[in-house]
Amino acid sequence: MCRSDHAGRSLVELLIAMLALAIVTTAALLTFGAQSRLARTAGDLAEASSARRTSAAILDRELRTVTAGADPIMVAADSAGLRAYRGMAIVCGRGGGAVHVRYRGLRAPDAAKDSILRLSRAGAGEQALPLSSAVRISTHACVAAPGEDVLALVPDSSHLPGDVLLVFERGAYALSNRALRYRRGASGRQPLTAEVFLDDSSGVTLLAPGETAGVSLRLMAGDVSRPGPGTPPRTLRIPLLNLRAPLDSLEAP
């Protein structure tokens, strides 16, 4: 084993080792890249799924009890304007120029943005009224159930004990600029979901135009910066509970 026998071997071994290292590194990088793309796609799908679920939950809650003919609901291609109900009050007394109510809702009434709708009772239809103030009080005349507060609402108007008042704000839900957005009154549209929807493929339509038997929500998510069809479109149907006539109705005599 003389020194001359080893001449050049180290170089060859080094080159082979570098080649092997390059192959392994390239494979690792390719694997890493593929996994990164896969993870990103999975993340996008999860985000789109979450946005769909959030949209469905919000709109189902807001639209399911809409009353055809009584609630002014305006459904356009990408939006639904409606009375967004935020609480319910039952009149239980009066005093000091205010009507006392037992109240339960998503939040406390806010005179700056809320109105009230008095539901119909014998001989009178529904009536929408402005709300001047809402103050929490304590009175023996009203016994609140768990989850309820006792409030004094102004104006008193002609409410009678047992009247049901719905507290609402005017709002509009829109599928625009890639997200479900909510606009209260004339304010700007605030996003409620991530910006994942394809505007051209998402929208809101009535299931039975003219009767407002329900609302169909079509959601399709995708990335506008990447070519491709996006996620499969999902359609959510929200049948309205307050239909004028049940399906098993008799024929008119």
């Binding site: 993340g43 009890t65 009584a70 159930a145 047992g162 049901v164 509970l241």
Partner: protein, 379 residues
Amino acid sequence: MRAHRQGFALLAVLIAVAVVEAAVLGMLLLAAETHAAARDDADRIRAGRGAESAVRATLGAWDESALAGVGTGQRRVPASAAGTLPGNVTWITEVERLHGSLWLVRGEAAVTAGGRLRARAAALATVTAIPIDELWLDFHAAVTSGGSLTILNGARIDATSPAGPPAAWSPADCPPSASAPQPPPPLAPAGVSLDSAASLSAAGAMITGAPPVLQPGPRTAPADFARLGVLDRNALPALADHRAGGTMAFAPVAVGNTCDTSATGNAGAPEDPAHPCYDFFPLIVASGDLTLAAGAGQGILAVAGRLTMAPGVRFYGAILARELDAPALELHGALRIANGGRLGGFFRFDACALGRAFQRAGALRKVYRHADRLWLPPF
């Protein structure tokens, strides 16, 4: 030098494996998170629909007489106000008398798994108790018709007999006490009441009343025949004890000493006070044509189509029909026909029979939607 090269390759492989494992682990975590979110979503929907079912179940089992003691502003958990649904859904309901006959029904449903609450939802509805005393005010004549009516030769229509029970009934069935079921107000009923455009052919028939023939009579417009007081044509089928159609015969059915109110054709036993079905006054609704072949019945009969009654059929109570063909009917009560028809036999305006039919009809001790807004936003 050799040891360094071997370790480097191993390190590279380990790094690659670690990257793959991390990516797979991330995917698994993502899938688990998505699965959990989807399950929560399903639970939320299940709870929401369960709460709505709770309200519907309570409305279906409503018994106004059992809630008579509930005052304005008071709440009560009605009988059969809790239950379970598939998918680990449990529900409860509570009713509150808002004022008078107006009620608020609140249903709550919860989805649990392994003893842990997964979702909860509520549903609300406002309903009004049926004003039974107002329902029979439309019956102001033995026969009311919105169309052409042919009364056959020999027929007898009597609206002048003093109020009192039919021959087969006990005098105690129509007591004068204020607390007992009362017959409708003495309206001095007419024999026949006709729409202004309706014609009457009654050669050889005997009609008595005050007046015998009233034209135009009150509430004889076509739209009035589509409803029974506050109950429109959509509400009646939902309340009915029996949904009828085709051909049927009246026959009381009892199991032991209990009236089988679910038996088809069981329209009470008006002519047998000892029968368990003597106090059963059903609401029978036919969405199409109906032929009654035989027997005696009582209660309220609402037929959206043509009602054909074979000779010998007897009825005690109120009949609503679009058209009638009854050549030999015996009726104690009153009859309203939208488009007229042909009738013969004996018709007696009977306030006692009407009063019993309406006040003892279990189907009418219910609630109905008094406005378009039945369901309220759930809070």
